[in-house]
């Protein structure tokens, strides 16, 4: 499992995430797109000193990558899902498909963890599929992402026991999907309404008799 993740992220490392016009530099293996690495490229002087950033201690690098205080706009996330960087990270698979939960023993706990991010920092070694990639933003406009969490057979939201989302993100997901349905962004099968025609045409039929 871990080797697969490694392989994915190795691809990722060589990738320039051109969507935001910033360059993503290789920092460490097994990390998904995180804003921390990108943010240091925003300022040109830091860009120049990129060799210096490689000299940061392991602790500092880890701190940067686990930082989740920056808010990524939905528009960026929507572009990211269409970008080649996303394609290389996940291939044709769904965002949650390769994720495995960490738990002791054979039987996983009923519920997933409450949240992966505490005080703006990733507080776990195995963050859920949404939390691990900073560019996945749950919002009703981000249909490409929401569709991945809706079952094509039942039309319902997939359970967190399948997707591995933390409770917080799963709640955000249900809200986003409900909003998207409200706005008509996601189509679904509307239940069939059978009309009692007499209720509407009643009088006319009485006349005919």
């Amino acid at each position: 499992m871990i080797t697969i993740l490694r392989a994915i992220s190795r691809n990722l490392i060589n990738e320039k995430f051109s969507v935001v016009n910033r360059v993503c530099f290789p920092q460490q293996l097994t990390y998904f797109h995180s804003g921390a690495t990108l943010r240091c490229d925003v300022k040109p002087e830091e860009n120049v000193n990129s060799s210096e950033s490689n000299n940061l201690t392991a602790d500092e690098i880890k701190k940067r990558q686990n930082d989740r205080t920056q808010v990524i706009p939905v528009e960026t996330s929507m572009r990211y899902l269409k970008s080649s960087a996303y394609k290389e990270t996940y291939g044709d698979q769904l965002v949650w498909e390769q994720y495995r939960r960490n738990h002791k023993g054979a039987i996983p706990p009923r519920k997933t963890r409450k949240t992966c991010i505490r005080k703006g920092v990733i507080s776990t070694g195995n963050p859920c599929p949404i939390c691990r990639d900073e560019y996945l933003v749950l919002d009703h406009r981000n249909i490409d992402l929401l569709q991945q969490f809706i079952s094509p057979h039942t039309g319902q939201i997939l359970s967190y026991s399948k997707t591995g989302l933390c409770q917080k993100k799963h709640f955000q997901l249900t809200v986003a999907v409900e909003r998207a349905r409200d706005y008509g962004l996601i189509t679904f099968d509307v239940p069939f309404r059978e009309f009692d025609l007499d209720e509407y045409y009643g009088k006319a039929e009485v006349k005919k008799e």
């Binding site: 039309g155 409200d182 309404r193 059978e194 009692d196 025609l197 209720e199 509407y200 045409y201």
Partner: protein, 389 residues
């Protein structure tokens, strides 16, 4: 005291319920300026048996479209062992079910809200600082028979306005799929976006559940959808759904059938095209001779159910019939050719007399004529070669 009054009025036997503070709502009114609406009551014309028959025939019954895959919570499948008779019976039942799915939503006049006061009890004025809504929740009543009344703060007892009535009905007798608050999808800009994405079927299905046929929103939204379809010419999306009939009726009523007619001719649904013209003549009392052609079509048309035949074909595949093989290879039967012969002059007559997009339609009929002539030649040639009369 006022309770007794309500008892007397609405015949509430067992149950009544008071709801405090009927919150005012924000009704959204679409831009009705550009949308075509029915100028008078369309219902008698719509429910007319002949109109219904025409509309049903134009809708067509395509089983694979009606029973297409849908997302349902329960995806279990039943497997049964059946005899031939039971299977045929099951086929008939599924056709019946398909026809049920094609039930057209009622086309009725828009209802206007009017204040209907039951009694004016000025003695009660100021009894409370909120108004009371009283709903009859007796079991087994129809929604239209259910009384919802409001006691205003000044003591007036009156029938609740439509909007409150609807909300109360949804509160006590929820209709699956309808929400108490109108989905934001039906607000102007979002509806326009949905239309541009061509989610016609979704909009119409949701509208049918969300609104009642006599509500103004039902009329404005449906007319907007139909007009948008007329512009994009995506009539095939609605074909063989419950909305095709009302849409056709809408076009015929507003005399803008040319695009639909063109689509029908291009797809070689000549019988439907003739029926569409007949419907137009019928609604506007033009050219009374349309009845003749309908009668002739009826006489020629095979009496048996085509959809049923299609289903049973799978069973009888073993016994190969040359005639049927030829028909399936060409896609048309002898009867179809006869129908075409009958319909084409009728359509051409309409085009020359009333059509607005003459050139386009004439070209389409000309092409379809040539294609059909070719097919006919082929059909006759093969029939002769196989010795089938």
């Amino acid at each position: 005291m006022f309770l007794r009054q309500i008892y007397n009025y609405a015949n509430l036997r067992a149950s009544f319920h008071a709801l405090q503070r009927a919150a005012s709502s924000t009704g959204n009114t679409g831009t009705a300026s550009a949308t075509l609406l029915y100028n008078r009551d369309p219902q008698p014309r719509f429910t007319d048996p002949e109109t219904q028959k025409l509309l049903q025939s134009m809708t067509q019954l395509q089983l694979e479209k009606i029973f297409q895959k849908t997302t349902v919570p329960d995806n279990s499948v039943d497997y049964k062992l059946m005899t031939m008779d039971m299977l045929e019976d099951e086929f008939r039942k599924s056709i019946e079910r398909a026809k049920n799915r094609l039930q057209m939503p009622p086309v009725v006049q828009m209802k206007k809200d009017e204040r209907r006061i039951i009694s004016n009890d000025s003695a009660l004025s100021g009894f409370s600082d909120t108004k009371y809504v009283i709903t009859d929740i007796t079991y087994g009543l129809r929604q239209t028979e259910r009384k919802v009344v409001v006691r205003q703060t000044d003591g007036t007892l009156e029938h609740a306005p439509m909007e409150i009535t609807k909300r109360m009905h949804q509160l006590y007798f929820p209709l699956t799929g309808r929400s108490i608050r109108t989905p934001r999808m039906f607000a102007d800009e979002h509806l326009q976006r949905c239309l541009d994405e061509q989610k016609y079927l979704f909009i119409l299905n949701r509208m049918v559940v969300q609104f009642d046929p006599f509500e103004p929103e039902f009329h404005t939204i449906s007319s907007r959808v139909y007009q948008h379809i007329n512009e994009t010419k995506q009539f095939d999306i609605l074909r063989s759904t419950r909305h095709f009939g009302p849409m056709t009726f809408f076009f015929a009523w507003h005399r803008c059938i040319d695009d639909l007619l063109y689509d029908m001719v291009r797809r070689d649904y000549l019988q439907n095209a003739a029926e569409l013209i007949a419907l137009l003549y019928k609604l506007h009392d033009m050219e009374p001779n349309y009845k003749n052609i309908l009668k002739q079509i009826d006489e020629i048309k095979p009496k048996e159910d085509l959809a049923l035949k299609e289903l049973e074909k799978a069973l009888k595949r073993a016994s190969s019939d040359v005639k049927e093989d030829i028909q399936s290879a060409i896609g048309k039967t002898q009867v179809d050719f006869e129908l075409d012969d009958l319909c084409l002059p009728f359509i051409e007559d309409y085009i020359s007399k009333h059509a607005l997009k003459k050139v386009q339609l004439e070209l389409a009929t000309q092409t379809i004529k040539e294609i059909n002539a070719e097919k006919r030649q082929l059909f006759e040639g093969i029939s002769k070669a196989h010795g089938v009369a």
